[in-house]
Symmetry: none
Subunit: 186 residues, 4 copies
């Protein structure tokens, strides 16, 4: 059921999918869906927030377990690539759903953005990278990875994303470094 919903949402957007579509694809009745989720909106929110918050926790694990910035960044980028390769539908759903659902993430919740931004702060503090606005660097990192995934979704880039992990990591490192170069100049 969650699988059917994720794939339909990824393909046609949340509003483009009816409860009947999901029920049909999952092979259950419409009413049965309401035993598990009190509304369609709750279903979408549950799918989104579960994956979003789990990803945040996994990035935090990486930050906790690995010692230096470049290994952390490499592991984080590789993690996103693996997520994409293992479940492109979920990944696409996340990219689509964020526009409507991100604002609903509570202020106190820990997000992937927090995990990466704090990893940047660590690196600046340790001198691994020049001083940089953490969220600006975070945006660059996310942008490089997610836009590459998006190009893959649209068929503009071939092959598994994991194969691109090392080069994406290098690009992210270089971008963050370059952002820092500018900031020092100030």
């Amino acid at each position: 059921m969650e699988r059917a919903a994720t794939e339909l949402f990824a393909a046609r957007g949340i509003d483009g999918v009816s409860i009947g579509d999901i029920a049909g694809a999952a092979g259950v009745s419409q009413g049965a869906l309401y035993r598990h989720y009190p509304s369609k909106e709750d279903l979408a929110w549950s799918l989104f927030s579960t994956a979003y918050l789990r990803t945040a926790a996994e990035l935090d694990d990486i930050r906790r377990l690995l010692p230096d910035f470049s290994s952390r960044l490499g592991a984080m980028v590789a993690h996103f690539c693996a997520l994409y390769d293992s479940d492109p539908a979920l990944f696409r759903f996340m990219l689509i759903a964020q526009h409507g659902l991100l604002p609903r993430i509570g202020a106190g919740q820990r997000t992937p953005v927090d995990a990466v931004a704090e990893t940047i702060e660590d690196a600046v503090r340790d001198g691994a990278i020049p001083p940089v606005e953490p969220l600006a660097a975070t945006a660059a990192i996310f942008g490089i990875v997610l836009q590459t995934a998006l190009f893959h979704i649209y068929g503009r880039l071939p092959g598994p994303l994991a194969a691109r992990g090392p080069s994406l990591t290098r690009a992210a490192l270089a971008a963050v470094d370059a952002l820092g170069q500018g900031e020092t100049a100030l």
Copy 2:
């Protein structure tokens, strides 16, 4: 009317806005909308494709008018920043609408992606940057710029985006370079 539609679409998504909402915000009757656009979908498509194709033409202009890669890239990044600053609603609408409407762009149409990708190809051919998969580099560039805009939309980054133009350009250059470093290693 186009203004009202753009802002509502940007705020609530295409499916989250009814014809009545747009008519009300534009101060016209619902029926009047159908004199200009045969359907809601056509209205959204018209707004999207107009801006999308115009942006492609503007990027092509930059490529035609400027001689070398780094000035071209700087102008392109600055152009996106200016687009965002001058009309954040339209920018947000583009980011949202692409998931549903991009596939409708005909194969023969010229897109911003084409313009940037060919600018990359030029640079590789001229030796300005190491050999790199053009679409991979394009993804990195778009990612850095668009994700930064997205962070700005969500209130995570302050100030006009134009002020970030130079640093985004540096980051994009560095990222593209780094992608190339990897590719040479192959």
Copy 3:
């Protein structure tokens, strides 16, 4: 279970209460309700007709046991007051449910209306009251008592209804008498 159903029906009307509400309030499963009543409608009907027919029997008892009209009427009014005071929810349920369920009372069934109407006929025959249309007098008696109960339900009248028994009896007697005065004039 009957208790839970009665109170919910009284508070929100039969259609305003779901089987799930009743099951939840009674602390049993929904399915368990169907072991006792074949349908929600049967449950409501059972609650209603049981109380309705029992009241008819009790009024018949009063008529059988007491000798004269004024003592019978006093006892009947007092009986309604006691019913109300002892179980306002059931009383309210009866008032609400009659609109939908009264027509289902079979023609042969003995109702509270029959009991009071025949008491009126007795009184006319005995000369205790002037000739009067029995059902018109019955309507007046029921109206005085039930509307007073309704005002109590809506919080417009304080105190136990039983305290009002004597005055309601006097009012009912006077009303019946007055109806008869008119009829004689014919």
Copy 4:
């Protein structure tokens, strides 16, 4: 449309009637109903409160225009009889709907109960009737009239209700008087 809704509500209760039923009976589409009333509940409430508040105003007119208690009471009773005879469906709807909708009447709104209760207060003040709890007397008056109407609805009383106006007025007067006799005894 209002006619169709009133008659269906009177016959089957508000919850027993679907929007489709009303639309079908009125010969319009379901959607068209929503141009006039924002919800089914609003439709029912509008029908109820309009008639309820108009009746209150008409009773207030009677109180204002007629000088003494017995003429006022006679006119009020006759007014109810005329209402019933002219539109039994509306009358029945009012009797049914009050259980769910009366609590929604705002505390500041003027109701038929207010009009009658103040007429009673006038009469007590003028010495036209013995001292009596105004709302208790009001309950008796409403009960006599409304229950008679109800018996008529159920087919237990024949003829137009207007023909019963004088006898109902006598009964109401006598009941109020009798209630007062009791109160003096206190």
